[in-house]
Symmetry: C2
Subunit: 329 residues, 2 copies
């Protein structure tokens, strides 16, 4: 008799999804689908988007690597960033996905082929097959185009009115299917307006997540992002997420161990005060608290300095896995 | 009882080896090793050599694709050439091999990993692990550096004295082993001074090929190259090869069907007269004659225009395979 697998869907992009997926892929009898934001237009990814007209490969690449069961070398290869000549700054995996999109004529098909080559455990699903260009409109009427510019905009000085896509961006039917057949949906962690919200505002996402019988787990970030979510408390995240989702989340995972003083200092130097998220949800029974923080500094290839820079205070994959396992029981 | 496989080694590089390998990989009960010249310094390969300091991936890439048993899409991917932006002109496979050399620290290890990913039937062996820079010294004393410049030099106006490597270039131990344990060694077809000779002048090659009990098959080119081998007859090739090898070849395969008039005209426009090789070896019992020419024009991806340009009169893989099968019986 075959055991029915538990369907887990993650929603996010970039380093946050990488960390969650690296953890939960070790949980037995699960089937994992990673829904990944397609809004990135920065760095190597942005250059490839601009120069080759392909969909943004960066976040998908990180999820593929997280779920790959291939040798370490192949995983290193995918993250390898050229540091000389015309290829300088490009990660090999991004070039890989761009070339496959060109050869197959479809980003989704390219992701399938890379998944096979990388022996990916699970499925990585681009949130949309459409070109996804973010627009933020501020309360003062100004419009900000693209994730890179949104990243630089201080919404706390110039409050955000709405974030949306320039064109019609429809939920990938495979993402819809994954949400509808899920047992658990893990949203986050990740940069709120750049990795989380870009998934939630896709046409069809909220409809799917209202219909599903899957439980929605919100994995709280560890730190606030200055200018975007500075001084937010835990309840601010939950309220914002629920506004976007148009439904309640079922479980809220909050880290309950403080980062080291050195880590906090490093963050404050870069981000100013208001970087730590205050847990103000004592009375909310949906909250599960656990030690989720990593005590080791990110130990990636030197060439992936971009990833390194944003990863000083981060979740621990193994601790996430243990916490999720408790929920599944 | 397991059947002992017949060990076939090919020696060459580029399109010639691609064609032979595509054919002989269909022959059952054979173990194939492709020894590939490392002297290329042109095009995408040359740029990667210069900018990243890697070994030249181009010829190896073609052999890997020839022997790959993966889907057509993966083979197309490896040959895909970017046509926009900073990556323009680079074939994906070359970038792939360059990245793997960077990640593993060894070109040979990189080739192994790509071979696994591409499900390569057989082994592709770089002829050397050393940086291989060709030098041609002319009878007038002038020295020509690198394959690209050698390609442009007219040895028929300015006769060649000697072709050699700038530094010590040693035979890859795995190539030596392949030659020593071979049953058959197929040399050619290929550009004489650019794909064939660069293998034969590697330190250790002639010693290995004198020691082996394998039979040496010389697969004659279909056309002469203006300025290098213009007006050569079949016997000129054999004599030259044997001078380099310092031994006799055992079998000589000569095509005995004329190209179409249109094909000849196209070649003569580019190369002038003396392009067809006259078969002047009627009395030599080592010669096997067969229809080896392809009647279809090369049908590669548009993006691989470089390969297309050099492939108007070419061998037919299947006909090569049939001819080699007769020899193996």
């Amino acid at each position: 008799m075959s055991i029915k697998k538990i369907n887990i869907v993650t929603v996010g992009g970039g380093t946050g999804s990488y960390t969650v997926l690296s953890g939960i892929k070790t949980i037995k009898n699960t089937s994992i689908s990673a829904i990944v934001s397609m809004a990135d237009n920065g760095g190597s990814t942005g250059d490839l988007r601009d120069e080759l007209g392909v969909l943004p490969p960066g976040d998908v690449r990180q999820c593929l690597v997280a779920l790959s069961e291939h040798t370490d070398i192949v995983r290193k290869l995918i993250n390898y960033r050229f540091d000389n000549g015309k290829l300088s700054g490009h990660s090999f995996g991004n070039i890989f996905l761009a070339a496959l999109e060109k050869v197959t004529g479809s980003f989704a098909k390219g992701v399938e082929i890379v998944s096979e080559i990388l022996k990916v455990r699970g499925t990585v699903i681009p949130a949309t097959n459409n070109k996804a260009e973010l627009v933020a409109i501020l309360k003062n009427g100004k419009k900000i185009y693209g994730q890179v510019e949104i990243d630089k905009t201080d919404f706390q000085k110039n409050p955000l009115k709405k974030i949306f896509y320039k064109n019609k961006v429809k939920l990938n039917p495979r993402a819809k299917e994954a949400v509808l057949s899920s047992d658990y949906i893990i949203i986050g962690p990740g940069n709120f307006y750049e990795s989380i919200v870009p998934n939630l505002i896709i046409d069809g996402f909220t409809t799917a997540i209202k219909k599903t019988k899957g439980k929605v787990i919100f994995m709280m970030n560890l730190t606030n992002k200055h200018g975007h979510t500075g001084y937010w408390n835990a309840s601010d995240y939950v309220q914002n997420i629920e506004n976007y989702l148009n439904r309640k989340v079922d479980i809220i995972l909050i880290n309950n161990v403080s980062p080291s003083k050195a880590q906090i200092k490093r963050y404050q130097l870069k981000e100013g005060d208001g970087v730590l998220i205050k847990d103000d949800m004592q009375d909310d029974e949906r909250v599960m608290r656990s030690a989720l923080i990593s005590h080791s500094f990110f130990n990636k290839e030197k060439s992936d300095a971009r990833a390194q820079a944003r990863s000083f205070i981060r979740h621990d994959s193994q601790k996430i896995a243990e916490c999720v396992m408790k929920i599944l029981k």
